[in-house]
Symmetry: C2
Amino acid sequence: MEDGKYATSFEDIQAAAARIEPYVNRTPVMTCSTIDKLAGRQLFFKCETFQKTGAFKFRGACNSVFVLGDEEAKRGVVTHSSGNHAAALALAAQLRGIPAHIVVPRTTPQCKVEAVVGYGGEVHFCEPTMEAREAACAELQARTGAVLVPPYNYGPVMAGQGTIAIEFLQQVHDLDVLVVPVSGGGMISGIALAAKAIKPGIKVVAAEPGGLNRSPDVALAKMAGWLLPCARTETIADGLQGRLGDLTWPVVRDLVDGVVVVEEQQIVGAMRLIMERMKLVVEPSGAVGLAAVLSPGWAACAATADCGRVGVVLCGGNLDLAPRGFWEGWLPGPPAPRPEEGERGERGQAD
Amino acid sequence: MEDGKYATSFEDIQAAAARIEPYVNRTPVMTCSTIDKLAGRQLFFKCETFQKTGAFKFRGACNSVFVLGDEEAKRGVVTHSSGNHAAALALAAQLRGIPAHIVVPRTTPQCKVEAVVGYGGEVHFCEPTMEAREAACAELQARTGAVLVPPYNYGPVMAGQGTIAIEFLQQVHDLDVLVVPVSGGGMISGIALAAKAIKPGIKVVAAEPGGLNRSPDVALAKMAGWLLPCARTETIADGLQGRLGDLTWPVVRDLVDGVVVVEEQQIVGAMRLIMERMKLVVEPSGAVGLAAVLSPGWAACAATADCGRVGVVLCGGNLDLAPRGFWEGWLPGPPAPRPEEGERGERGQAD
C-alpha cells in the first residue's frame, strides 16, 4: 500500500493507538454459543459498547484532540453533531483540558444535550438545517480559532477508529473477516487500512442499513465505482445516517471486499438477540453487523464465502430506553386519585 | 470455622469450583467511573449476567448434577421452579446427558417454559400452589428415582454458588466488602463461607428487597436472632421471592455482617444505571446489590463503614423485554389496511 495515498495510513493508526492508549478502554471480545449456532459459524464480538461515552466514536475524537500541538489545542475544538461524536469530542477535550464547542440543532433530544454538557462541552444551539449547522461552526472557528473535528471525513478520526482493528486482531488472531457497520465510512476505512496491513488475507465487509427508507449508498457506490448522490437517510440505526465523504470513499472503494445490505426488521432482530442472549445493551447501529451475518445477503456476498471465523464490531450501546416508556409501569401501586375540577388549578401551581 | 457445622464448607466450595470449571463461564468483573462517583467509592461488579443460562444459578445446578455418582445420576434430577434455577438445572443435566424433570406451575409465562424446553428439560405442569408443586415432585421422585435438587436450601447448591467468591477474590484481591442479593440465601451463604475463609477480614452484606409488598425477612431474622415466619413476597425482583431455609439461615446468622433493605424504586433506579451507564442487561434481582450501595440504608449499616472497595454481584440478566412492548413500534411504516369483514376469514387462512 502506497503511503500518502489516503487521508490516513497504518503508521498513523499505530501512532494513534499509542497516543490514545492512556484514555480509551481496551474493550473486551465476547462470544455467544446460541448465536454461533444460528449463524452456522464462529462469531467474535468487539464490544465498543463498553468504550468510554458508550461508542467507538471516542477513539477518533480522542486522537483528533491529542494529536494537536499545545498552542493549537489551547483554542479548543468544534463540531456539529447531536450524537455519539459530540459526546465523544466533549469528553476528549475535557481530558485534555481544552474547550469543546458543540453546535447542536434545536430539535436535539434533551438527553443528548445533557450528555454533551455532562462531559463539559459548550453547547451552541442552531436551526435544524445543515446550512445553519455549518454556518454556526464557521462562525465559532473564526471567533475562537478552534479546530474543526468532523465526525468521519477526517484523517485523525479515521486513524482513531482504525485502532479497533489493531486491538481486535491482538485479541483474536485468526479471523477470516471483519464485519463493520458503515455510514460515513470513518470506522470502516480505518479498520480496513489497519486490518489489511496486519493480516493481508483478511476480508473486510461493510454492513449497511438499506430497506425502504434509506438508500444503501455504500453498496451502490461500490457497484458503480463512483460516489452517487443519495438522499434518503431514514433508518432506525440513527447512528448510521452519515454519507461517505471524499476522504473515506477512496479507502472503501479500494479495500472493502463486500457490502451486505440489511433491512430494518433484521436490525431489530439482531438487537433482540444481542440483548436477550448476550445480555448487552446495544443501539440499533451497533446491531447492524450481526444483522448482516444473519441476513440472506450474507450468503450472497462473495467476500464472505468460506468465512468460518467472523469478527463483528458492536459499535455502540447508547440506547435511550426512556422514550420507549421502558422505565414506567414497574411499580403499579394504587391509581392516583382523580382530582375534582376545582382542585386541578391548585395542584397545577403546587407541582 | 468448624467443619461440618453448616450444610456446606469451604472445602466443598473448592471441590465444587474444580468440578464445575469445565462447564461454567469465568464471568468478567466490570467497573464504571460514573457509578463510582455517585457511590463515592470504588465498585467492582461480578457479572453473573454473563453466566450460562444468564444467571449465577447455573453454578449450583451444575455442582448438584456433577457431584452425583454415575448410578444415581442416571435416574435424573427433579425440581419445581419456574425461574432461573429450572433453566440452570435443565442445562446442567443436558451437559451430563441425564434427564431433568421440571415441575412448572400452569401459570408460568410461555417464554420461561420455552427456556427449560430449549435446554432439554422435561416439563411437568401442575396447579399453581406450593402443595401441588411439592406433590408433583414427590410423585416424580417416587416414579423415576430422580434426585431432588432444591433451588437454594441444599448443600451442593450453596457450594456451587460459593464459587463466585473464589473467582471474584482472584480477580480483585483487596475488596473490603461483598454485597450480595438475598432471598433464599443459597448464594450469600456459599459466598460468605468462601470469602471469609480466603480473606477473614472481608465483610459480607446482604441486599434485600423490602418496601411495601415484601417483608424483609433476612433483616428481621438477623435482628431477632431467629427465623420469623413471613408471608409477603411480592417484589419486582422476581428472582428474590424465596425465603431463608434451615440450611442457609445458620450461615446467614453467623457470617453475614449486615443487611441493607432496598425499596422497589431504588431497584428500578439501579437497573437504569446499569443498563444506561454500564450497557449491561440486568434483571431487577440483579440490580439489588447496586441499589443497596446507593440507598440511605448503606450509610446506616455498620458493616459498611470505611468500605472503600466494594464488590457487587450482578446476579442475573434474564430480563424479558417482550411483555413490556419493547420490541414493538420500532418500524412505524404505514398502518396496515383494515380488512373488510368478508376478507378477514380468507386472510386468517392465508396467514
